[in-house]
Symmetry: C2
Subunit: 339 residues, 2 copies
């Protein structure tokens, strides 16, 4: 154990103690195969006696294998991003990687250099959780600078690009929204309205496609911000309209905003109005009434993003996706229209 304030134990201290060269110590801590078992044991003993811990900066600088990822995101508190981040952390921890986090302010404009200088060094690997315009832009900048070391998650316009399969890990947001919309249609609703989050695209596509399928012209989607309050405000006119019987929301938080607005407008749920969310956030099942929504495995997506990055770094094949497929959870905010 090194005393506080003293010079930390280095690879040379260990080498001296074990009676080997520092290089042999390096081999041991990197699990190199060509080390005699006896030597390995001696070194390991010295390591634990001295309380040696490798210095990550030195390892990185000396050009060893990369052992950290920088995650770019815009809000660590939103359910989707928080869960994705947890998934990345799970994967990173299992692989011995350090996670750095770089939060981008949606209201700020970043130059290419602002983004790139957030990496620990040129070409450091990164994962972008792209859920808004700023992170989508960051994704583009990072990918242009280091195509091999950047993967992304998210649902935005870039995910329509042809080479997306190489670097994108994402649920099929289109199918998810389509499914929820079809469900509402199947309950007998004439049409389904859509409350949209900022900067996302594919969920809205799915909703529109499901309507087109049955020959219904899609009503104008209503635009909301990310907060529950903004959703309540954005949906105020919608919920006041007695012709509106079904609303599909970009995510659960938005759905809670709609429920709040509907309550204030005196409309009963699900008699007057069906509301469907998306995410299955922790509160959905416990809301009063419990929210009909689609279970999305963001954590699995995060883990998948890390694994794709890891595979690319080591020149391996793209691993198979590992997340649960989305599931529609019909609870108590949806049903057939009253007539």
């Amino acid at each position: 154990m090194s005393a506080a304030g003293a010079r930390p134990v280095s690879i040379f201290d260990v080498a001296k103690r074990a009676g080997v060269s520092h290089q042999t110590v390096s081999r041991v801590i990197n699990d190199a195969p060509q080390v005699a078992d006896a030597t390995r044991a001696k070194v390991k003993a010295a390591i634990s006696e001295l309380g040696y811990r490798p210095n990550r900066s030195a390892r990185t600088l000396a050009g060893g294998a990369v052992r950290s990822v920088t995650v770019f995101t815009f809000d660590t508190a939103l359910y989707g991003t928080a869960e994705t981040l947890r998934g990345i952390e799970d994967g990173a921890a299992a692989a011995g990687f350090t996670v750095l986090i770089s939060v981008l302010d949606p209201d700020q404009t970043y130059t290419d250099d602002d983004i790139l200088s957030r990496l620990s060094h040129d070409g450091a690997p990164a994962i972008v959780i792209a859920h808004d315009d700023t992170t989508t832009r960051a994704r583009r900048i990072l990918r242009e600078a280091r195509p091999g070391a950047v993967v992304a998650t998210g649902d935005d316009k870039l995910s329509r690009e042809p080479d997306a399969a190489d670097w994108l890990v994402s649920l099929d947001d289109r199918a998810v929204a389509e499914r929820a919309t079809r469900y509402l249609l199947s309950m007998g609703h004439r049409t389904v309205h859509y409350l949209a989050m900022p900067g996302r695209a594919r969920r809205q596509d799915g909703w529109a496609d499901a309507l087109a399928e049955v020959g219904v012209e899609a009503p104008e989607p209503v635009q909301s911000g990310w907060t529950i309050g903004s959703a309540a405000e954005a949906a105020a006119a919608l919920v006041a309209d007695p012709d509106v019987t079904a609303i599909m929301c970009g995510n659960d938080d938005l759905a809670f905003g709609v429920l709040h607005a509907a309550h204030r407008a005196g409309r009963s749920i699900p008699g007057d109005l069906s509301v469907v969310g998306c995410d299955d956030s922790p509160l959905a099942a416990f809301n009063v009434p419990p929210l009909t929504t689609i279970d999305l495995d963001f954590r699995g997506v995060g883990r998948g993003a890390f694994e794709l990055l890891h595979a690319k770094l080591e020149g391996r094949e793209r691993p198979r996706p590992v997340w649960r497929s989305p599931e529609l959870l019909v609870r108590e905010t949806s049903g057939p229209p009253r007539h």
Copy 2:
């Protein structure tokens, strides 16, 4: 702009281009005062022409000023920790620091070495968001190893220690819970029950103190986990008891669980039962009915934690706290008992 794959631009490349020594470049990027304006301009021009960006590992290794913090936490998705993290990020970004994040699994037991090896190097600065037993333990380990470079937030038994003022940044959780309990008492409730989160202490102290103040013996606190589901389950017996008219909850999520359980038990809110949360999470104001709670500025606390760490690192005085003081927000889940 360095081409992908090429060797990154170093301080020597910049020096050559600007016709100065690499040390002068170092001075410019570190804002050292003793550089002639003309020289500085030349160097800056070379930097931007070449797209030079400093390598953080090299800077750290060479023993420059520290520019990163590792944050230890146990769940980045919970409202309190997520907001604290955001506050730390805000402060770190303003000071040009990188934030590393180290998530500790509550179900795992870590050795001292497990914890210490998560730092980028021996003695790297850290902030611990201590909200459970595992993180509280990490706090102790880190503080013992590097007392000067570790600060913490949170509400646990350690915060009762005498030297806490040196390294702890925290709201007055005791006062917060006391205030909420007094409010319920003032509405005419005979007693107030407490639904507790794991591993926290001071909120419970405040609740007990407020009851003691008016000579009421505190009922046995009910223990919940961190999830809404566990709260609903833990509170099932409590809400079924018609003698229970007021429940104060460790945080908002727990309160939502209680509301859910109360609804299932057929008790009306707030007629039969008053429920008070703690946090003012984003959903509180928009729940149906809106939740009475206490607004806690976790983001401010996070910023304060970073600023305390930063001040310690630079040998400055402890900065003044910068967060909003807690405020009781009486909404629609609380009121006088029915008789």
